[in-house]
Symmetry: C4
Subunit: 220 residues, 4 copies
């Protein structure tokens, strides 16, 4: 213990990242688990009526937008977590700026179920364009948020030296691919909701691939 | 600190598993705690009526399906957590594939309260067969999910050498016992809801036993 | 890293307790935070009426049972967490039995807000006796649950040698003080709800004191 | 492993802080994520009416108080987390007193969304004065809570020697700046809700600045 007190800095530095990560993990995992609240068991039919198997299949089938929103939101937040995880593996220490930009990103992560439900509810109505614009608009902000976290980490010099190139490549992904394409999706939402959603889906596949590839880069 | 920078890989590898586990723990613990939301305090009787002790006992008694669903869901998710915990004790490192298969498994974990409530609500109606089929169908997927996590860990070579036999034995449990028996439970649900639930319950006892025995194997 | 692979057991043992604790922390912290859901902002008055300051004070005042239930539940779960924390500081390793008894205890922890709201809702009605019996009944189970966790830890030989006396003293507290007194509170609820609640409150003060004293025992 | 058993104290001490932090992180992250529950997707219009884009924009616009309350609560709890994080970086060990004062602080953290929604709901009504007094009153308590955590840490001698001056400076911030100014805001709420909110907002900027500066102090 005395030996430790003589070199307190490294201990502090290690603990530092650990706590930001566990806090972020908490936010991600609660955000993902809260999604189940949107799945409701079909109510029993009005009094005196007996629920037949056909009744229950129909009721379950009618709820497909909520299942669709659940699975999409879950996958979206999962991919964001995997990329967040990949980014923080490269960071050794935090400072105030990184804590605040990370907090801004977490705010957006917890918001994701809201626009997803909005799209699920309004996709087949004439108001679909508005829902899709809100949806892609949130992802413009998320893309900027990831970029800011990466910039804050890079600027503070808190990254492992050998991780610099990956940080730079991820910054380019955010600002040169993510932000402009999500902006395009937001604008195209005014005339075609489906084009808007198509661009967003293609980008999710891209981020999943980034997560898979980078994740593997740390394998043996 | 400088000494650390010269060997950054092992540090990265240790941190890696820790964060997947803490994230999974978050999802498991929130999923288990959210179940309480289903327990509602009986409403006071309509105005001018006084709630007698008999009234309250009756109201509490009428809610038995929600208590039953609460305890069953909690026990189910607990056993899944214990087995998840047992599996990750054997894994040293993660890659993208493992993160995604684990994420798929967590999605199914958070879903469990939904089919459980469905069964509690519809068990005594003619629609019981549908509820039981949905219930066992979810567990077919969960069984496949555990198998995929184990395969991803084995394939990436991320397991401790001495843990290989246990991983193999757990893979066999998933694909040769779990998946076919849950499939049988799903099919038998079409003509007998009780047979379907019986098979599922027997399997839960089996997984609990696996969890207990394996857990002990790491004792002193 | 190679050095590590040669002695994998100690690493596994350390990691083991860490994950049970982080999982339990998750359950405790979600259980405590979910309590806020019971605090609702007073609704605006019916249309055309203007909410005056007096109106809002009255509405806030009328909700006192929900504030009372919130603070009581929070304090109760906090004291349980502090004692749980004190117990797990003494445990070095886990096995299947400990995981299951701990899971049973966590089930009861998540339940606590339910009987607390029941008492807050029915305390001033003739049904108070039932509410108080359910409340103290849950704590009989919780007291047994803590005892079982301690027995499981002791039996498996997973405690630090110097911690044996404290474990034994805590087991005595559970089975010789907690369980019989909560049973007494449950029985006395049939004729006096206030006596029942008085016994429970006195016991909470006792557990808080145990938590404070034991916590300090590990100070410098 | 044997070597470890001979010096168990340091291991216990390290583990100690880790668990209080992970528990606090859980409470903070759940409190922040639960805020999303307040964001509701606008309902589809009554039957036979088709939701036009204008309808959806209007409905989303009408919900601005809930968006405002969401962002404010999130930012508030985030700043509190960053300061909590900054404080616990300086603490090496915990005792019962610190656990209880920290628990009291966490109770207040989970409460924050309640007065925030109260202000969002009643700000434009004559009852705004009451809402603002409740809001600043909660922050009087929070300011005292932070001070008590810091005093408990200092008194127990659990802080790193080189961290003493920062602890003292933070204690002064709580009791000489935070508490009296929040009290002023509470009193001024009786005649001017806007002055009350202005003082609170100015203090939040101040705490954010403290968090940023202190955070940076641990940079390289």
């Amino acid at each position: 213990m005395h030996e430790k007190l003589e070199h307190p800095k490294p201990a502090v530095a290690d603990k530092d990242t650990a706590r930001v990560e566990s806090f972020s993990d908490g936010v991600f995992s609660v955000a993902m688990t809260l999604l189940v609240v949107g799945l409701t068991v079909p109510a029993l039919p009005a009094k005196n009526a007996v629920p037949t198997p056909v009744y229950l299949w129909n009721e379950l089938g009618r709820n497909w937008p909520s299942y669709f929103a659940f699975i999409t939101s879950f996958a979206t937040v999962l991919i964001m977590w995997i990329n967040h995880h990949g980014i923080f593996k490269l960071i050794r220490r935090t400072d105030g700026t990184l804590l605040f930009t990370n907090g801004f990103l977490l705010l957006l992560v917890t918001v994701v179920p809201f626009p997803t439900s909005l799209v699920a509810e309004y996709l087949l109505t004439p108001a679909a364009s508005v829902a899709c614009m809100v949806y892609s608009g949130v992802f413009v902000l998320i893309s900027v948020g990831y970029g800011c976290v990466l910039l804050a980490a890079r600027r503070g010099g808190h990254v492992l030296p050998e991780a610099k190139p990956e940080i730079d490549s991820r910054i380019r992904s955010c600002f040169c691919i993510g932000t402009p394409l999500y902006l395009l999706a937001t604008i195209s939402g005014t005339f075609s909701p489906w084009l808007s959603l198509g661009i967003c889906s293609a980008l999710w596949l891209y981020w999943a691939m980034v997560g898979l590839r980078r994740g593997r880069a740390f394998g043996p």
